[in-house]
């Protein structure tokens, strides 16, 4: 266990080379990848938004589809970052030995991990931005507010990429990630107000949204998109940032123990 808590050994240009590697792989599959990322939220949005929305009066003063759409931005960003950190991250860190090869070059584990986290956040930004575009085209939010939401989307991606790599550093195989989704990601979708307002839940469950990162992502993004409201955004930003940083810090220790022993 000695020297687990070594100081950060980061070379930004080397970490950027890792980010570039992943961008290069993604760029040739960009269109199908983006369409895939869009299809799922759009199905929810149209199916639930129009179908269920027709049955509902206004939700929190807006149409149901607007309410749902603004939650979907955070939800899809979370999913995109999580999938990249878990499945693609696992392939590169363990299965296809990409990290091992890279660390034979003059890169540290910190360079690789941070390059990967930034990449997963970037990929989720692409996905979140695609949904923002659709929402704007549908007239569910103004383009100014959509543009202002981009940094919050990136931060949401960073948060879930950071904590996602904890799972990747612990996973013995891909099957492990099922736990991450069923125990963490899916419950969060229900507890954090993606599909319905938190007030619908029993009060003792409502507190969960105050702790869970998706609650803060939605808390930051939804009021901005619906009303251009940024009051209280700083608390959400700080919590998301804290999650991102502690995720990276923990993943770093776990990865070091697994790969550099």
């Amino acid at each position: 266990m000695s020297k687990l808590f070594v100081s950060l050994d980061l070379s930004p240009s080397r970490a950027f080379a890792v980010w570039q590697r992943n961008l290069k792989v993604w760029s040739r599959l960009a269109i199908p990848s983006l369409l895939g990322n869009l299809a799922d939220p759009l199905i929810y949005l149209l199916g639930l938004g129009l179908g269920l929305g027709a049955l509902l009066p206004q939700v929190q003063g807006v149409t149901y589809i607007s309410f749902l759409a603004t939650g979907t931005v955070a939800f899809s960003t979370m999913n995109a970052a999580t999938f990249e950190a878990l499945y693609s991250g696992f392939a590169r860190a363990h299965q296809q030995k990409t990290w091992e090869a890279i660390m034979n070059a003059p890169l540290s584990l910190d360079d690789v991990l941070i390059g990967e986290v930034l990449w997963a956040a970037t990929k989720s930004l692409f996905s979140g931005a695609a949904i923002l575009l659709v929402i704007t085209v549908f007239g569910l939010a103004s383009w100014q507010h959509a543009l202002m939401a981009l940094p919050l989307v990136l931060l949401t991606g960073l948060c879930f990429a950071g904590i996602g790599f904890i799972a990747t550093s612990l996973a013995p195989g891909y099957d492990f990630f099922m736990y991450w989704f069923t125990l963490f990601i899916s419950p969060m979708a229900m507890l954090c107000g993606v599909f319905f307002p938190l007030e619908q839940l029993p009060s003792f469950v409502q507190g969960a949204a105050l702790v869970l990162p998706l609650g803060h992502a939605i808390g930051a993004i939804r009021p901005l998109l619906l009303h251009g409201e940024l009051a209280g955004v700083w608390l959400h930003v700080l919590v998301l940032l804290a999650y991102a940083l502690s995720g990276v810090a923990i993943a770093r220790v776990l990865m070091r123990r697994r790969l550099l022993r």
Binding site: S2, K3, D9, S11, S13, R14, A17, V18, Q20, R21, K24, V25, Q96, K97, T98, E100, A101, I102, M103, N104, A105, P106, L107, S108, L259, L260, R261
Partner: protein, 309 residues
């Protein structure tokens, strides 16, 4: 010096995998670390590259202390790992270009270097092929080319020919000999004795975490074993037990040392003539007379029992 390892120790819990290993590589030399599975070869390499922290000892890689300045030292080292770690998402050329970026080599410089690297690997015709379409030998050659992308002073190869067929292995040896002839310093691990004998200027035999023999292949053979070996096998005039039974009765008198392994008796001798004359008169027995090699030394020093990690 390209590499100095001094009194290296590495323990995992109570289990000490490397127990006081010391060796120094001279510039331009090819040095082979030999050893059975679990002898500590790969752990030694991981320490050398700064991928794991030694429990004790001193390492200097390309003049820099490791692990403290391992990252910097690795800019001057090319590594061919044991596992295939090529990027399956990229073509042959892209693998080289992307790897060059990790060394901070500008894109145009890297591009200009690609034809030379492809020629070295004999992969000119495969420049745009995806990695999964390559054969095992091609992948290993590409991995070697990738290790050379930053024109390193020292090349470290972990079991470079394990799992390859003889044709592919000879091709790797040819490339490696070319590099050695150019004056590159090479550190390789292998458990193929013929590979070490063919390529290395000096070898070290590692067993249970310690170097038990070190020197030129010729010196190590001369120091540890008789110069001639006669392997005796087959039936012996209808005696039950065949060559093993023959060895029980005659081998001690006719050789300096002998060992029976399975159905074969290995007789180590200074002068083979008396033994060969005797064998000529024994019906049924067959034999093979050859000079002693590193494998004999290796088996003598590390024993014949199986090592399963």
């Amino acid at each position: 010096m390209p590499l100095i390892v001094e009194n290296l120790h590495k323990a995992y819990g109570d289990h000490e995998v490397v127990r006081g290993v010391s060796f120094t590589l001279q510039p331009g030399e090819c040095f082979a670390l030999l050893g059975p599975n679990g002898a500590g070869k790969t752990t030694t390499l991981r320490c050398v590259l700064g991928h794991t922290e030694p429990s004790a000892g001193r390492i200097e890689l390309c003049g820099l202390p490791v692990p403290e300045r391992a990252r910097e030292a690795r800019t001057r080292v090319g590594v061919v790992p044991q596992n295939d770690s090529l990027d399956p998402d990229f073509t042959v050329t892209e693998n080289l270009l992307v790897f060059a970026r990790y060394f901070g080599i500008p894109a145009d410089v890297a591009k200009a270097r690609v034809p030379e690297l492809l020629a070295f690997a004999g992969l000119e015709a495969k420049a745009d092929a995806k990695v999964p379409t390559l054969s095992g030998g091609m992948k290993r050659r590409l991995t070697m080319a990738r290790a050379l992308v930053a024109n390193p002073d020292l090349l470290i190869m972990d079991e470079p020919t394990t799992g390859l067929d003889p044709q592919a292995r000879h091709l790797i040896w040819d490339r490696l000999k070319g590099l050695i002839a150019q004056g590159k310093t090479v550190l390789l691990t292998t458990h193929f004795m013929d590979e070490a004998e063919r390529l290395a200027h000096r070898i070290a035999i590692l067993d249970r975490g310690q170097i038990i023999a070190i020197g030129t292949p010729r010196d190590v053979i001369a120091a540890h074993i008789e110069p001639q070996v006669v392997e005796v096998f087959g039936d012996w005039n209808g005696h039950a037990g065949g060559a093993a039974a023959w060895a029980e009765t005659h081998a001690a008198a006719l050789s300096s040392r002998f060992e029976v392994s399975g159905e074969t008796a290995f007789c180590y001798v200074q002068d083979a003539d008396p033994l060969l004359a005797h064998l000529a008169g024994q019906g049924g027995l067959r034999y093979l007379h050859r000079p002693a090699n590193l494998e004999d030394v290796f088996l003598k020093l590390t024993g014949r029992e199986m090592r399963d990690e």
